[in-house]
C-alpha cells in the first residue's frame, strides 16, 4: 500500500505554458499544417518509407499516451504492435478480407491482450511496471517463435495480401496509392488519441500522472484509469502495427522483439513526450535516418541513432518538439512584450 505514495515515473514535462493556451487559433493552424504534410509526404519521400513514418508515428503516440499523459513507461509495446501485425496478416491471408478490416481485427486482438497485461502491470509503478510489460512482451515473442504452424516461426508470416475490393490492383501496383488507402486508419488512431487527451478522461490521466495519491483521495480509481488508458494505447499500437504489416506484406519476429519496444520509446522521447506532436516528429527523424543509413550500406545504424538520442536527451530536455514549442512560445511572448513596450 505505502508504495502507492511514492509512485511515478520521473518524467520531464514542459514547464512553460503551452503556446496554444495563449493563442487558440495556433492549434488549428498546426493541425492544418500537419495534415498537409501528411498528405504531401509520399510526393517527397519514397511511399513505403512514408508509410513506415506514419505507422511509427502512431505507435509513438500510443506510447506517449502512457508515458507523457499518464506517467507510465511501457517497455513491452512491441507486444501490441506485433500481435496486431501477425493477426492482420493471418486475417488477410486466411479470410481474404480487405486490409482495413484485417488491421481493425489486429487492433482488437492487441486490446484483448492488453487487458490481462494492463491488469497485472498497473499494480506496479515505475521500473516494475516497465518490467511487467516487458515480461508479457517476451512471452508473446516466445509464443510467436514457437508456434510455427501459425506464425511461420523464424521465417515470419509471408505473403500478406492487400485486398481492397475494386481498388485491390491499384494499391498493389503502386505503394503511392496504398499510402492513401491506409492513411485513414492512422488518422483515426491519431484522432482517438487527440480526443482521449482532450477529454475529461484525459484530465484525470494528467492528475494521476502528477499526483496519484491526490487523485485517489479525490475518489478516482487510479488503477482502473490506468488499465483503460493502457488498453486504448494498445489499440493504437495495434492499428499502427497492422498497417505496418499490410504495407510490407509480411509480419516478422522483428515486430515482437524487445528492441522494437525500446525503439518506440526512444522515438517518443526524441520527439518530446506529453505533446502528441512529438511522436510523429521523432518517427520521421528515426525512420528517415535509418532509411538513409541503410541505403548507403552503413552497418552501424544503432551507433548513429544511439548517439543522436544521447545528444538530444542531453541538449533538449523536452525532446525536439517540446523544445521547439517552448522556444516558439518564449519568442512570441518576448515579441508581445516588445510590442507592448513600444
Amino acid at each position: 500500500m505505502s508504495s502507492q505514495l511514492v509512485s511515478k515515473v520521473d518524467v520531464d514535462l514542459p514547464d512553460a505554458p503551452s503556446i496554444t493556451a495563449q493563442r487558440p487559433y495556433l492549434r488549428w493552424v498546426g493541425m492544418a499544417v500537419g495534415l498537409l504534410v501528411v498528405l504531401a509526404l509520399p510526393f517527397f519521400i519514397y511511399p513505403p518509407v512514408a508509410m513506415d513514418i506514419a505507422a511509427w508515428a502512431l505507435f509513438a503516440i500510443s506510447v506517449d499516451l502512457l508515458l507523457g499523459y499518464t506517467g507510465l513507461l511501457s517497455f513491452g509495446h512491441a507486444a501490441f504492435w506485433g500481435t496486431s501485425a501477425y493477426t492482420t496478416g493471418l486475417i488477410a491471408i486466411h479470410a481474404g478480407l480487405p486490409f482495413p478490416v484485417a488491421v481493425l481485427g489486429g487492433a482488437v486482438c492487441a486490446m484483448i491482450l492488453a487487458v490481462p497485461t494492463g491488469y497485472l502491470a498497473v499494480r506496479r509503478t515505475g521500473i516494475y511496471f516497465a518490467m511487467v510489460t516487458l515480461a508479457f512482451a517476451q512471452m508473446v515473442y516466445f509464443i510467436a517463435n514457437q508456434w510455427r504452424s501459425v506464425t511461420g516461426g523464424e521465417n515470419g508470416l509471408q505473403g500478406v495480401p492487400k485486398n481492397l475490393g475494386p481498388l485491390t490492383d491499384l494499391i498493389n501496383q503502386d505503394p503511392f496509392y496504398f499510402y492513401y488507402a491506409a492513411l485513414p486508419l492512422i488518422l483515426i488512431g491519431v484522432v482517438i488519441a487527440w480526443r482521449t487527451v482532450n477529454s475529461p478522461f484525459g484530465r484525470v490521466l494528467v492528475a494521476i500522472r502528477d499526483n496519484p495519491a491526490r487523485a485517489r483521495a479525490l475518489g478516482y480509481d487510479v488503477e482502473r484509469y490506468k488499465i483503460m488508458v493502457f488498453v486504448i494505447s494498445a489499440g493504437l499500437a495495434g492499428l499502427a502495427g497492422g498497417v505496418f504489416s499490410a504495407s510490407h506484406g509480411f509480419a516478422s519476429l522483428q515486430e515482437l522483439i524487445w528492441t522494437t519496444s525500446g525503439k518506440v520509446v526512444l522515438i517518443t522521447v526524441l520527439g518530446g513526450i506529453g505533446t502528441l506532436w512529438g511522436g510523429p516528429v521523432g518517427a520521421a527523424l528515426v525512420v528517415l535516418l535509418e532509411d538513409r543509413l541503410a541505403s548507403s550500406g552503413f552497418n552501424g545504424i544503432g551507433i548513429i541513432t544511439g548517439a543522436i538520442f544521447v545528444i538530444i536527451v542531453l541538449a533538449f530536455r523536452h525532446g525536439i518538439w517540446g523544445t521547439a514549442r517552448n522556444g516558439i512560445g518564449s519568442w512570441l511572448r518576448s515579441r508581445r512584450r516588445a510590442r507592448e513596450d513600444a
Binding site: S199, P200, F201, A207, D210, L218, D221
Partner: protein, 268 residues
C-alpha cells in the same frame, strides 16, 4: 469543568450521541515499530475533533489509516457503524470522507478552477468518458467558483496551482475537500507553516465549513485547537494519552508531562 457550554460540546459529553467515526484497537506496525497502537477513537457526529500530540505521535499515520492510504495491522475503522477497514482511498472518498494533506498535495500544472472541477466531477463518473470533449467539465464551473469564493481564491481561479502562495495552496486543499461534500472532513495540519493572519483566517474558514459537518483535524497550534475543537484527543507514541475538552486536556497532568517533560514537574 467546561466554563462555556457550546451546543456541540454538550453532544460530545453524552455517550449516547452517535459516533460518525469510530476506531477499535487500531494498530499499525512498520517492521515491528508500532506507529499507532490500540487506538480506540469515537468521533461524535456534528463535532469538531482535534488530534494533538508531539511529532511522531502517530497522527498522520492515523489519518492514513482512516482514509485507506494505509491498511491497519489490526483493529477496525467504522464509518457510521459500517466497517470500512481495508477499503481503498477512492472507495472511502465516495463514502463521504474527504481529507487534506499535511504536505500540500496538488497538481502543480493544473489551474485552480480545474482542480475543483476535477473534484466535483469525481462522483459523477464523467472522468471515464474519454470520447467527450474536456469542455464537458465546464458544467461544474459555477459550483467550483462558489467554492473558490468560499475559501477566498476567486481572483486566482485561472492560475496554475504551482504558482500559488503557501496559504493559497492550503485554501485550495480545503476547497477540494469541500467539493466532495463530505460527511467527515479530515484536515491534516490545516495551518501548518502559516503566518498569524492566515491562521486566523483559516480558523474562521474551518468554523464556517464545519457547520453541519463532522471535522477531525491535526494541528500543533494550540490557539487553533482551542478555538475550533469540541473534543481533543492527545496522542503520544501511537497511543491515546488523554481525551476531553480543550480545558480538560490542557490541565491533564499526563499531557503536561508529555509536552514539557520533567520541566513541568519542576515548575509546578
Amino acid at each position: 469543568m467546561p466554563t462555556e457550554a457550546s451546543p456541540k460540546a454538550s453532544g460530545s459529553a453524552g455517550r449516547a450521541a452517535s459516533a460518525l467515526l469510530e476506531t477499535r484497537d487500531l494498530t499499525k506496525e512498520f517492521r515491528g515499530f508500532r506507529a499507532v497502537s490500540d487506538v480506540s477513537l469515537r468521533v461524535v457526529e456534528g463535532t469538531v475533533h482535534a488530534l494533538v500530540g508531539p511529532n511522531g505521535a502517530g497522527k498522520t499515520t492515523l489519518f492514513n489509516l482512516l482514509t485507506g492510504f494505509l491498511t491497519p495491522t489490526s483493529g477496525e475503522v467504522l464509518l457510521a457503524g459500517r466497517d470500512v477497514t481495508g477499503m481503498q482511498p477512492e472507495q472511502i472518498a465516495h463514502l463521504g470522507i474527504a481529507r487534506s494533506f499535511q504536505i500540500t498535495s496538488l497538481f502543480d500544472q493544473m489551474s485552480v478552477v480545474d482542480h475543483v472541477e476535477l473534484a466535483l466531477a469525481s462522483p459523477t463518473g464523467l472522468g471515464y468518458r474519454f470520447w467527450r470533449s474536456s469542455s464537458a467539465m465546464k458544467q461544474f464551473r459555477p459550483r467550483a467558483m462558489e467554492l473558490l469564493d468560499e475559501v477566498g481564491l476567486t481572483d486566482r481561479s485561472g492560475a496554475a496551482a504551482g504558482s500559488l502562495a503557501y496559504g493559497q495552496k492550503r485554501a485550495l486543499e480545503l476547497a477540494l475537500a469541500l467539493a466532495l461534500d463530505p460527511k467527515l472532513l479530515l484536515l491534516d495540519e490545516p495551518t501548518a507553516g502559516m503566518g498569524l493572519e492566515d491562521v486566523d483566517r483559516t480558523i474562521a474558514l474551518v468554523k464556517k465549513v464545519a457547520a453541519g459537518r463532522t471535522v477531525v483535524f491535526v494541528d500543533h497550534n494550540m490557539h487553533v485547537v482551542g478555538s475550533l475543537a469540541d473534543t481533543v484527543t492527545v496522542l503520544q507514541s501511537g497511543q491515546v494519552l488523554a481525551e476531553g475538552t480543550y480545558e480538560e486536556v490542557r490541565n491533564d497532568d499526563k499531557v503536561i508531562t508529555a509536552y514539557l517533560g520533567q520541566a513541568g514537574d519542576q515548575h509546578v
